[in-house]
Amino acid sequence: MPSLLVIIPLLAVLLLNLPLNFLRRLALPAAVLFAVYQALFAMQLLPASCTACPTHERWFVNVLDPLTSVLLLAIAVVAFASVFVLHATASDEKHGFNAFNLIFLAVAGMNGLVMVRDLFSMYIFLEIASVASFILIAAQRDMGGLEGAFKYLVMSALATMMMLASIALLLAYCGSTSFMVVAEALHAHGSHGYLLTAVGLFLGGLLIKSGIMPFHGWLPDAYAAAPAAASTLIAGIVTKTTGVYALIRLVLHVFGPSVAVQQLLLIFGAISVVAGALAALGQSDMKRMLAYSSISQVGYIVMGLGVAGAANKFAAELGVAGAIFHLFNHAIFKTLLFVNAAAVEKQAGTRDMNQLGGLAQKMPITGLTSLLAMFATAGVPPLAGFWSKLLIIAALWLAGYHGYALLGIGASLLTLAYFLSLQRRVFFGLLRAGCENVREAGWALTVPSLVLAAILLGVGVALPWLIGSFLLPVKGF
């Protein structure tokens, strides 16, 4: 029952807030249980995911196609990790409990977002996740958090305004906001000025939401200033569903990958990939570096999506599969990196990379898992990130975008460069004075790290056998 994925978190929030004290302590087990349930639910759909599974219910009819299933799985995994981080880093019980509620709400919003097939409903669920994120970012009420939340809020308001205007235009002309009707209308009268405006506005809004360069101004502040659990959730999955997933879904199934859209995606994707990586090179705050890296990686996804309408059908399929797979991978490895950043910040008391050094000796699990996550990000085999990048680059090349392919592959060198610099300054190298008393983080941070790293390694090693049948059906690669 797909609708349970929205209703259970809602009920959980209501139940946990009954005025009974012992219920508060159930928040972590409840969240973990729900995440596991959702992951199993999504996994069971994956092997059969070549076509949408029929679901007979009122709200979500036939919605469980591969894209949705992959996203549900990613949401479950990231939520799993972030509630652990929350448990480990919450300053006191009350703050922690409030954040638990907000995470539940954000998860409900994201689950709804990936399952709806209607523009307006999509907008509403997108708002749920966003509103919960603003509050999560600002929850500490410190200056940085408020600033980050405010920037996010303003940019997000701009984006939603554009989307809402676009929805209004589309509603006026199509008489409905359901994907099917809008897609048909666009197919019939796609070149009309109004409709083009509508599509452009919506895409613009989504680009802001995804933090694509040059609309990324809010992203580093929001990620870096947020409390650890919030940044894990937001960087890991919230901006990926509210921005990138929506972009993929709409470009593929509603707007159609026309030549103009394709060019737009390729150009903005390429800018993000390169500029994000260059900006990341110059950072000394660990979380800011991760934020810029996130911009760069989202650029890859967008570039992969930009091949979706290529004349070479095989390349188009590869590009889409690569984009979706990279979205999943990105959720995993970026979450892992933020969990690691949380561990470092908690144990060493700072995120400034110039004050850290040699932590791998004191925090072996954090060091090792961060290494795996970084290699996955840079696309080093045999980790999962390698395969998705390979798919994207191959798609770009086969579709004839040779320059973009070269750019993408060159940027992975930049990615490796900034991550090596991070490793050098934080984990690898001699132990820095002042870090002698640092110890490994507790179970609440190491457990999610290990689980996420195992996913990266497992998916990466097993992918050659999975690629034709599981996760993403790509035939004949």
Binding site: V6, H95, L105, V116, F120
Partner: protein, 168 residues
């Protein structure tokens, strides 16, 4: 041109100008209470425009929620706040003038430009009539959105709890 249409047009232009002025005043006014009232005024004008554009349901919501409820909440919240000193106000005013003086000009130019653009009409897709009855619209195909709105409201409640509740 038909004189009726002419008055109609004139009324529309006046109303839009009033709305624009109200919005500007909201941003520019230095006292929060006055800004809140200006916002209410803007909402009222917008509401009249919506009535004229044959969208009574939207107008009613705009009037009751935006102009009414929100103004009350704002004013009650503002009454809890300490006023700023004279110098702070002056500095803030200078900053705002510097920042916003071009805005009306830009808006006017864009608006004029847009009004001269002619767009060929697009045939409405057949078979999908707008549902005009609010009850059917809300409880029929849009029930899911209501659920979503409940969730948004809950998130907002936690926002108030987390961000504005005083620590004991």
């Amino acid at each position: 041109m038909d004189p009726n249409l002419k008055t109609e047009l004139l009324a529309n232009v006046i109303l839009m100008a009033a709305m624009l002025l109200g919005g500007l005043a909201t941003v520019m006014l230095r006292q929060l209470v006055k800004a809140a009232i200006a916002l209410a005024f803007t909402s009222v004008v917008l509401c009249i425009l919506m009535f004229k554009l044959a969208a009574p349901w939207a107008a009613v919501f705009e009037l009751s929620v935006c102009a009414g409820l929100i103004t009350v909440v704002f004013i009650s919240a503002i009454s809890l706040v300490k006023p700023a000193t004279e110098e702070e106000r002056a500095a803030h005013m200078r900053f705002k003038v510097r920042r916003y003086f071009l805005l009306p000009l830009v808006l006017l130019t864009v608006g004029c430009g847009l009004s001269y653009m002619t767009v060929r009409p697009l045939p409405v897709v057949a078979g999908a009539e707008l549902i005009t009855d609010m009850r059917i619209l809300l409880w029929g195909p849009r029930a899911l959105d209501l659920l979503g709105q409940i969730l948004v409201l809950l998130a907002g409640v936690w926002g108030v709890v987390v961000l504005f509740k005083e620590e004991k």
